[in-house]
Amino acid sequence: EVKLGFIGGFTGPIESLAPPILSGAQLAVQQINQQGGILNGQTLTLLSADTTCTEASAAINAADRMINTEKVTAIVGALCSGATIAAANNVAVPAGVVMVSPASTSPAIAEINDNDLVFRTTPSDSYQGEVLANLLLSKGINEIVVTFVNNDYGQGLSNAFTSVFEAGGGSVAANLAHEDGKADYRSELGSLASSGVDTLLVLAYADTSGETILRQAYESGNFTQYIGADGMVGDRLVGAVGADVLEGMIATRPGKPDIPGSDIFSEAAAAAGFDPNSVFASQAYDAAFLLALAIEKNGSADREGLKEALRSVALPPGEVILPGEWEKAVELLKAGQDINYEGAAGSQDFDERGNVPGIIEEMVVRDGAFRTVGLIE
Amino acid sequence: MSAIIEVRQVSKAFGSLNVINDCSIQVEQGSITGLIGPNGAGKSTLFNLIAGTFAPDSGSIWYQGQDITSVPANQLFHRGLLRTFQIAQEFSHMSALENLMMVPPQKGESLFNTWFRPSDVRAQEAEVREKALEVIEFVGLAHVKNELAGNLSGGQKKLLELGRTMMVDAKVVLLDEIAAGVNRTLLQDLIRNIQRLNTERGYTFLVIEHDMDMIAQLCDPVIVLAQGSVMMEGTIQEIQEDKSVIEAYFGNDAH
C-alpha cells in the first residue's frame, strides 16, 4: 500500500470549497487503482486531514500526523497558503516530504526555504493579480475600490493587483481589508462607497464574506460593476445573490487551458459525480496524479528521490501523458522512458521554485452562471 | 479620656433617601460604647462609613486624631480598626479555622517571602495557627473547625465573625449585632471576654445591639440613633427612662 496525504481546510473559511478539491484528488487515486495500481499492483490510498485554513498549528498538526503517523510518501496540499507555509516549514521540509499544493496561490509560497520540496499546480497570485489588473485596464476600467479578506490569500492578491493596476494608470480609490465570516459588511461597504467609485473588486471567498458583501453591495445601491477573483467563482454564488444582480460580473481564476487534458478531466469528473468546474479540483487531480507518477518513477514508496522524480515526470522531455493515462505511463516508465505529464489544469511544468506557469480564465456572469470568455496566458 | 473615634457632621444618602443626617458622635478611648436605635436608623450604615466601606457625602471622620474620611477599609484594619458584619460575611469555601487564620497580616502574604524565605513564613504560620486554634476554642467552634464556613449554622457564622476580630491586636472593634442568633449562654462568655479585652488590653468597642440585657451589662455610654442622627446619649438607665426613646425604640410595654 502506498499512501498519499491530503491536507486541506475542511473546516473554516474555505470549508465549502474543500470537498470538490478533495474529490479531484480522489478521482486521480481511483483511476490509478482501477488501472492496476501503483508500484506493481499496490493500492494507492489517499488520507485526509483538516488544516482549518486559519490556524497554523492545526495545519502543522495535520501534516505531522500524515508524515509521522501515517508515514505517507508525499502530500497533496495544503489548500490555504498559510497552511501550506506552516506545514512545509515545520514538518514537511524537516522530514524531506514533497508537498504539492493545488490551491495555495500566495506569492509567499515561492519564498519558502524549502529544499525544493514544495510545489504547486496552480499559478501564483502575483500572476492572477497582474492579469486581472491588465484585464480591467484593457476594458477601460480605471477607477476601482477593492476589499480583500484579511488573510494571506486576500492580502497577496490585493498587493499584486494594486501594484500592477496603479502602474498601468488605474487608480485604486480605496483598498480595505475585511474580516472573514462576519454577518454584516455594511460599514465596510460604506467606507468603500464613500469614495464615490462604483466598481467593486472583491477578493474573498464566495462562501464566507464574498456572498454577503455582494448581496449587501447590491442592496446599498452604491455599486454597479462587480469583479472577483478565483475565490469568488462558483455558480452557487450567482444563485445566492441573484442572477440579475450579478449579470455582467467579471472574474478571473486559474484556468483550465484549452488543452486535451481539460476535457478528459471534465468527463471523468462528471462521471464521478462532482462539478469539474469547481475551483482547484483539476489542480488537485494533477497534484495527486503527478505525485503518483513520481512515486512510480522513483520505484518505491520512499521519500528520497521523489522531488527529482517529480520534476522528471512533470517536465519535458518525454512522452506526453494525459490525465487518466496511468497504464500507459506505467508501461513507459517500466520501459525506462521519460514521460511528461500534461495535466487537467495546465502543462504543470514546474520552474525552479516549484511554480507552474499560469493560465488565467476570464469569466463573466451571463444568464445566471459564470461563463468562460477567454484564456489569458 | 479622649475620643478615639469622632464622627463630625456626617451625612450619607442612597439615592434620594437620607440615611445619615448630619450625625456627630464621639467614642471615648477605652470605652465600650453602645449604639442602639430602631431598625433602619442607619446604625450599620454608620459602621460602614467609619470602617471605610462607604464614603460619606459630607462631613468627616476622625480616628486617633487623624482624618480617615477617605481611607479605605483595608488600611484602617492595619491601623487597628476592626469590624464585624451584621449579615455574616464568612469565607464560605474555606474552613472555619482558615477563616480565622487569614486575618493576621503575615510575611507569607508576599510571594517573595513565600519563595525565598520559606522558613520565616512557616514559623509565623505556625504561630498564627496556634492563635487560631485558641480563638476557635473560645468561640465554641472547635468541633467544626475543618468544616467549610459556608456550611456553618447561622449562629456559628456570627461567632466566626466575632472570632476574626480576636485574631489580631486591635485598638477599636466595631461589633454589629453579634448577639443576634447566638445562644444566650454562650453569649455570656462572649460578653465577659469583651470586657476582659477592654480592661486588660484597652480595646475600645462600639457595639450595635438590640439585646438590652447585653447593652446593660456591657455598655457605657449608650448612643441612640434615630433616622440617621443622634437622638440622645447617656447611660443605659437614662436612656431606658427617656420618653422619646421609649416611644421610638423600646415600645411602651417593654421592660
Partner: protein, 234 residues
C-alpha cells in the same frame, strides 16, 4: 391528632447526619419553641420538615398525613409557611414584589393581607418599591415574615424571626404570634431570645446535637435550672 408530628427524624447534608432521631409534636392551637446551642440542628430540622433537605429515616406528619420529603410547593398549598434563618428575602425584587411572591400560590385576591402586613410593619409600607436587598437587617427580617404571612398559613415555621429586630418589634412580634396562634394557626419557631419565646410557648423543645434533650411546657423549661443555666443564659 397533632397538627405537626415528627417522629424519630434522621437527616443531614451529604453524608453527615445532623438530626439523630428527633421527636416533636404540636397541636393546632399551640406555639412550639425550639431552643438550643448554635449548630444543634434547629434550622436543619425546620428545613427537613419543609422538604428542603432529605429525611433519611423517620416520618413527619401534617394532620396525620405523611409529608416526609414532600415538595415545598405542595406544603405551601397545604397552607404551611416557612421563614428561613438566612437568605430569606429576594434581594433584587422590591418589597412589594417580595410579598407578592409570598402569595404566589394564591389564586384569589390577597390585597387585604398585603395591607395588613404593611400595617403591621409600617417601615415596609414606606419602602414598598425599594429593592429588598437595600434594606437594613431588621427591615429584611420584616419582609421575610411578611412574605410568609401572605398565604395566611395554618402552620408557620419561623427560624429566629426576631434576630436583629429592635425591642419594639420583638415584643410586637411575640404578641402577634400569640394573636395569630389564638386564631388557630400553629406556630413552630426557633428562637435565641429563648426566655421571651418560651414565655409564650405551649411546648418547648431543647435541641442538642440533633436530639431533644428536654421537651416540656415553655414555663417549665424556663424554671428548670439546668436548662436555664446551660441554654438560656442563666
Amino acid at each position: 391528632m397533632h397538627l405537626l408530628e415528627a417522629k424519630n427524624v434522621h437527616g443531614g447534608y451529604g453524608g453527615m447526619n445532623i438530626l439523630n432521631g428527633l421527636d416533636l409534636a404540636i397541636n393546632a392551637d399551640e406555639i412550639g419553641v425550639i431552643v438550643g446551642p448554635n449548630g444543634a440542628g434547629k434550622s436543619t430540622l425546620l428545613k427537613a420538615i419543609f422538604g428542603l433537605l432529605r429525611v433519611t429515616e423517620g416520618s413527619i406528619e401534617l394532620r396525620g398525613e405523611l409529608i416526609t420529603n414532600a415538595d415545598p410547593g405542595e406544603l405551601v398549598l397545604k397552607k404551611m409557611a416557612f421563614v428561613p434563618q438566612e437568605k430569606n428575602i429576594f434581594p433584587s425584587l422590591t418589597v412589594q414584589e417580595n410579598l407578592e411572591m409570598g402569595a404566589y400560590s394564591r389564586q384569589d385576591n390577597y390585597q387585604h393581607i398585603l395591607e395588613q402586613v404593611y400595617h403591621f410593619f409600617p417601615p415596609l409600607a414606606d419602602k414598598r418599591s425599594q429593592p429588598a436587598g437595600e434594606l437594613s437587617g431588621g427591615q429584611r427580617q420584616m419582609v421575610a415574615m411578611g412574605r410568609a404571612l401572605m398565604i395566611e398559613p395554618s402552620l408557620i415555621l419561623l427560624d429566629e424571626p426576631t434576630a436583629g429586630l429592635s425591642p419594639l418589634y420583638m415584643a410586637d412580634i411575640f404578641e402577634r404570634i400569640v394573636t395569630i396562634n389564638a386564631a388557630g394557626v400553629g406556630v413552630l419557631m426557633v428562637e435565641q431570645h429563648a426566655k421571651q419565646a418560651l414565655k409564650i410557648a405551649h411546648k418547648g423543645f431543647v435541641l442538642v446535637a440533633g436530639q431533644n434533650r428536654f421537651t416540656d411546657t415553655g414555663m417549665n423549661l424556663i424554671n428548670n435550672p439546668e436548662v436555664a443555666k446551660a441554654f438560656l443564659g442563666g
